[in-house]
Structure formats: structure tokens, C-alpha cells
């Protein structure tokens, strides 16, 4: 678990600098300390703004999804750490085109407090804000406490669908409604095989045996539902699909998008081996897969592991999912 870096203190700032110099037509830095990534070409006047925020170390999440038909701006903290309320307020300001701003992000304690605080800060500047939290990780709390679940890769669907709704001209209430509907339609579960190293900490986020895996582990190494011997790919995929299908009602005729996501180091080859089972299980219940995503969409740097996300669509969500979007990591056209 070696890293290519300079001073660990500079990891995030240098990453953001490189991102913006590589894709200047897409991303630019804003905010007092350059911890806000915003669209180089802002959304048109009167478009509802969409902001997100969170810790670094998850590229393309979060900053990577700033772009046309996606996020307008994003505040970014140190690796795995929330940005400050001030930085979030800067992101909200950068996203505002006069029609209000939706805060769309993952359910983590510090992020929520800071984003609420940021809302208070910009309230005095007459920017209306709303909030939708992603809480899609079924392994992090039982269904009765679904609101305590943490947000993981479901974010990708939420950014995409909500971004399209805003681009389509819905007002703040409408965009917020679509975002909440998407958040409610997403379920994710992950399995981790090896940790990653937070540059400033210099040591792995967790320890795990050479022949072990952990089902349901969080993207920062939060404990999962079981740890045990590494299982065959098909058995891992079957259990993950069991857990997802037990948590959301998907049946004959339903249309579903899926994301088979590498947590970082797991190669595409292995994602496709897993995808066979995802496809077979959804086919078995009679559901139709729409626009499947297989790749690295939400990572924890060099962590080894995988997550599955299901996003159950209705006509409205499917339309927005298929609408155009453009960023350096993903485009739909």
C-alpha cells in the first residue's frame, strides 16, 4: 500500500490543482482556500444549483462529478474528513444561480452538521437551500433505522438524476423532490478485501488477514456485518444481491439501473466476473437492467473491494438518468 505523493499535507491541494489543470474546461477552483471545485461554465441563470461536499480520497466522488447535468460545485475536505462550514458555504455561493441550491450528499455526522451550519451562513445572503441526504448503505443499519445509514455509491445516481432535473428547469422544490425520490430508490452494499492509507495518517485505515474479507464494510473502514475467509466471486456477488433484494422490492417488469463499483484497486476484470451474477439475479426476478455502470465511480483510493448499487427507476428517474451529462470521469450523451 504505497502511495505516490509529496508532502502528505499537500495531497488534497495538489490533487485539486492537477484536476483543474488537466480539465480546465470542466473544473475551476473557488473559495478562500481553493477547496471548492466549481463548473468552469456555470449553470445558466435561474437553474437550481446542486452542491455536494465531503472528504477527499473518493475520486471521482465528489469533485469529479461537477459538470454539466451533474453538480454545480463541491466543497472538499482533507482525506476522509469533512470540509468546513465556511468552505461549504462557498460552494453554495458558487452554485447559486438565483433559484436556490440543493445540498446533496452522504449521511455522515460531521458533514451534516457543517452543511447545516453552512446553510445558516448563506441564509443571510438570501440563498434558499434544501437538503437531501444519501443513506443507501444497507449494511450500516437495519431498515427500521434506515435514516441512520451512511451514504455510499448511490450518490452517483443521485448526482446524475438530480443534475438532469435541474438542467431540465425544475424549481428548487421539484429538484429536491427528484433528489429525494432517487435517494429513496437506491440501495448499496460493499465488501472490502484490503484497506487504504490516509496520507496524513501514514498507516492503513484497518487491518485484515491475508485470506479475509469483510462484508458490508464502510468506505472509511467502518465495521461491516461479518468478517471471514475470502469467498469465491460468485458467492460474494450472490450474498450482496441477497442483501440488496431483501431491502428493496424489485420484481417483474421493474426497471433498475445498477452500479458495480470498484473501491479502488479491484480491477475491471473482477468487476465483470461479478456483474454476471448481478445480471442473472435481476433477470431471475424479471427486472430489466437500464444503463448499467461497471467501473470506478466511488472509491476509497487504493482500497481493494467492490460495492453494488441498485437504483429502481420510474419513468421520470429513467428519463433524467439518460439525459446528457459531462464531466472528466463520466459522460452521457
Amino acid at each position: 500500500m504505497k502511495k505516490i505523493l509529496n508532502d502528505p499535507e499537500d495531497y488534497v491541494d495538489e490533487t485539486l490543482a492537477g484536476l483543474c489543470v488537466a480539465h480546465p474546461e470542466t473544473y475551476c477552483l473557488k473559495g478562500e482556500d481553493n477547496r471548492v471545485v466549481a463548473r468552469t461554465t456555470p449553470g445558466k441563470a435561474g437553474k437550481v444549483g446542486i452542491v455536494s461536499a465531503g472528504g477527499s480520497g473518493h475520486l471521482p466522488v465528489f469533485t469529479g462529478y461537477v459538470g454539466h447535468g451533474l453538480l454545480d460545485a463541491c466543497a472538499i475536505g482533507n482525506v476522509f474528513a469533512s470540509p468546513s462550514a465556511e468552505q461549504m458555504a462557498d460552494a453554495i455561493r458558487a452554485a447559486d444561480q438565483g433559484a436556490g441550491v440543493l445540498r446533496l450528499y452522504g449521511n455522515y455526522g460531521g458533514d451534516v452538521m457543517n452543511f447545516d451550519m453552512a446553510g445558516d451562513l448563506v441564509e443571510m445572503e438570501d440563498i434558499d437551500t434544501t437538503t437531501v441526504l444519501l443513506a443507501d448503505d444497507v449494511a450500516s443499519a437495519p431498515p427500521e433505522e434506515a435514516e441512520k445509514r451512511r451514504g455510499v455509491a448511490g450518490m452517483v445516481f443521485a448526482f446524475k438524476i438530480t443534475g438532469a432535473a435541474a438542467e431540465a428547469g425544475l424549481d428548487l422544490a421539484g429538484v429536491t423532490r427528484v433528489a429525494q425520490k432517487t435517494a429513496d430508490a437506491c440501495r448499496s452494499v460493499g465488501a472490502a478485501l484490503s484497506p487504504c492509507t490516509v496520507p496524513q495518517a501514514g498507516k492503513p485505515t484497518f487491518e485484515i488477514g491475508d485470506d479475509e474479507m469483510e462484508m458490508g464494510m464502510g468506505i472509511h473502514g467502518e465495521p461491516g456485518v461479518w468478517r471471514g475467509k475470502l469467498r469465491p466471486a460468485d458467492a460474494i456477488a450472490e450474498e450482496m444481491m441477497d442483501r440488496l433484494l431483501a431491502d428493496i422490492n424489485i420484481g417483474s417488469g421493474d426497471r433498475v439501473s445498477v452500479l458495480v463499483n470498484s473501491l479502488g484497486a479491484t480491477p475491471h476484470e473482477e468487476l465483470y466476473i461479478l456483474y454476471r451474477i448481478v445480471q442473472a439475479r435481476l433477470q431471475a426476478v424479471g427486472a430489466e437492467i437500464v444503463m448499467p455502470l461497471v467501473g470506478r465511480y466511488a472509491t476509497s483510493m487504493e482500497m481493494t473491494g467492490v460495492s453494488f448499487t441498485l437504483c429502481k427507476l420510474d419513468e421520470e428517474l429513467e428519463g433524467y438518468l439518460k439525459a446528457p451529462c459531462e464531466c472528466a470521469f463520466w459522460s452521457v450523451r
Partner: protein, 198 residues
Amino acid sequence: MITVADLRAASLRLKDAMEAEADTLNSADGALGDGDLGITMRSGSRAVAEKAPDLPDDFGMALMGCAQAFMKVSSSSYGTLLATGLMAAARETKGRDAINAAELPDLLHAARDKMMARGKAELGGKTVLDSLDAIATALEGAKDPAAAAVAAAHDAQIAFRDKPATIGRARIFAEKSVGMDDPGMLAMTKIVQALTGR
């Protein structure tokens, strides 16, 4: 009477204490959490101490200045909660040069309530909220407010030690947390000691 001059002096004591306690607080937080509480308190208290000479003489505005300085450099929950509490107290004391020790319980309650709203947490959950609540209660009519506050913070920390954590990352390890101090309560004990100079 407590004036902005007192605030300035207290902020320097706080900074010194947090420089000294940063590792202790990091380890306490690192046992079940992300281990950043010492960093949070050190960088926050440094920022406040640095701003101290420039704080306005309006007590409320000075508290507001402390909150903003802290918030700017800290993004961990504890820093955001402290800033929230400071801002609540700032709102209550705006336009005045000084406050009485007798007002402290009310100000602490105001802070506590805003912090509860911000963190969506209840009393009794083994958090910094319980420390503040205990301190406020102990200050009611106390003859030696400083001594009462220090004792109350410490006693609360000990009293909750054997309860399970209910918030944040430590909640997931609720069983393990029994017998361990809540890092935020531990920090509050150190903060009160530093602020009062006891």
C-alpha cells in the same frame, strides 16, 4: 464580571492547554473514532488565540469572533458544535461589555440547546452535551463558579464512562465504548480547566 479582556486571557490559556493535550485527545478519539479531536482543538484554539488581540469589546461580538475563528480551521464535529454553542451565547450577549457569572447557566443552556439542534442528539447520550448540562446545573448559585464548573465537567465524564456511546462512529462500537471516556467529555473537562485556570 467577565469581560472581553478575560476572554482574551482565557483564550491564551486554552491554546496552551490544547497544545499540551492534543496527543491525549487524539488517542482518546482514535480508540473508536477517527482520532482527530486533538488536532481539531489545537488548530481551533490556536486560531482563537491568534484572533484574541483583535476581538471587539462587545462581548457578544467577541464570542462571535471566537466562533468564526474556530470554525474556519476546524471541520470535525466537535469544532462545529463548539462554534454553534459560542454563536448561541453570542446572540444572547450582543451589545454588552461584560456578563455576570450568574448568567452563565442560562448562556450554557442556550448553547446546549443549539448544539442539540445542530447535532440532532439528546441529553444522556454520553456526549459533550452532558458535560455542558452538568456544568450549567453546577453553576446555579455556586459560590466558587470556577471550581464548581471544573468539578462538574470531571464528574460528568466519570459518571458517563460506563455507559455506551450513542453517536458518531463510536456508536457502532457501543459495547466496546463502555468503560471508556467519551473523548468530547474528556476534552470539555480540559477546556473548563484551561478557561478557569484551575
